[in-house]
Symmetry: C2
């Protein structure tokens, strides 16, 4: 049995790939600058290319205290899910504001005009997942195939 | 402007839906029992039906200290991404073990035979995303359409 410890940043096997992104508080190391803007807005790690994902794009985000996203956006064909994992802030979608904190999950359809801000004095952490709208045919018990007991030795 | 506070468990708008799942430490309230098993294995909130997701299934998981998943599984057509957000444990994929902690991201292709265990003395927290393999055509800058400055008033 091969054991990969967390100090190996990237590991790839026949049916998997792994990236050790590090603690959410250290996501500032992955600076994201939108081409529309002159400066990076926040720490944002896009994992698709690191892992070879083919059905989704996912970002891990650290959004600093007091910051607002300077522009809204919508999507052409992808649904988005925002999962907040720490801190406090607000999402704006069309003309509605949702207060967010640990455990807030927000689906935004393609046409939703969205932005977010951290109006607190602590960093805000969230994961954003993009997948093509209406692309999932089955999931969990329908798509999963149960096997035998795992052997850890 | 409508403002939705976090005490509203579920909110739905024209282009969005929101579910306030609560803190990850309280995910034990969403007990998950696989039909193969007699007892629930852990706290697992499946968000697809709560939010009306159409491109992905996502679960938020609290996996107790000392517990192992009693069976392996693979998938028919969905890619999975495991994002670990707290605690420590191990993923088993085929004949390889990966040590996991905050920030570990693991893609598993359909055929990967997978299981996990929490071999630590603290709870393990992770998010699992399922999407159809090869279903994403474009993402982020290609799929996003930038709009104007957000109005929060």
């Amino acid at each position: 049995m091969v054991v990969h410890t967390t100090d190996k940043k990237k590991v790839t096997g026949t049916n998997f790939s792994c990236f050790q992104a590090g603690k959410f508080s250290e996501l500032g190391q992955y600076e994201f600058k939108h081409p529309k803007l002159e400066k990076p807005t926040h720490g944002k790690l896009l994992v698709k290319d690191n892992l070879g994902l083919t059905g989704m794009q996912v970002s891990l985000n650290r959004f600093p205290a007091g910051r607002s996203m300077p522009f809204t956006h919508s999507h052409k064909e992808n649904e988005e899910l925002y999962i907040f994992v720490g801190g406090k802030g607000q999402m704006l979608i069309d003309r509605e504001i949702i207060e967010v904190s640990e455990g807030t999950c927000i689906r935004v359809g393609t046409r939703g005009v969205r932005a977010w801000r951290n109006n607190s004095n602590e960093d805000l952490y969230f994961i954003c997942v993009q997948a093509k709208e209406n692309s999932l045919h089955q999931d969990t018990l329908d798509d999963g195939v149960a096997g035998g007991a795992p052997s850890w030795d």
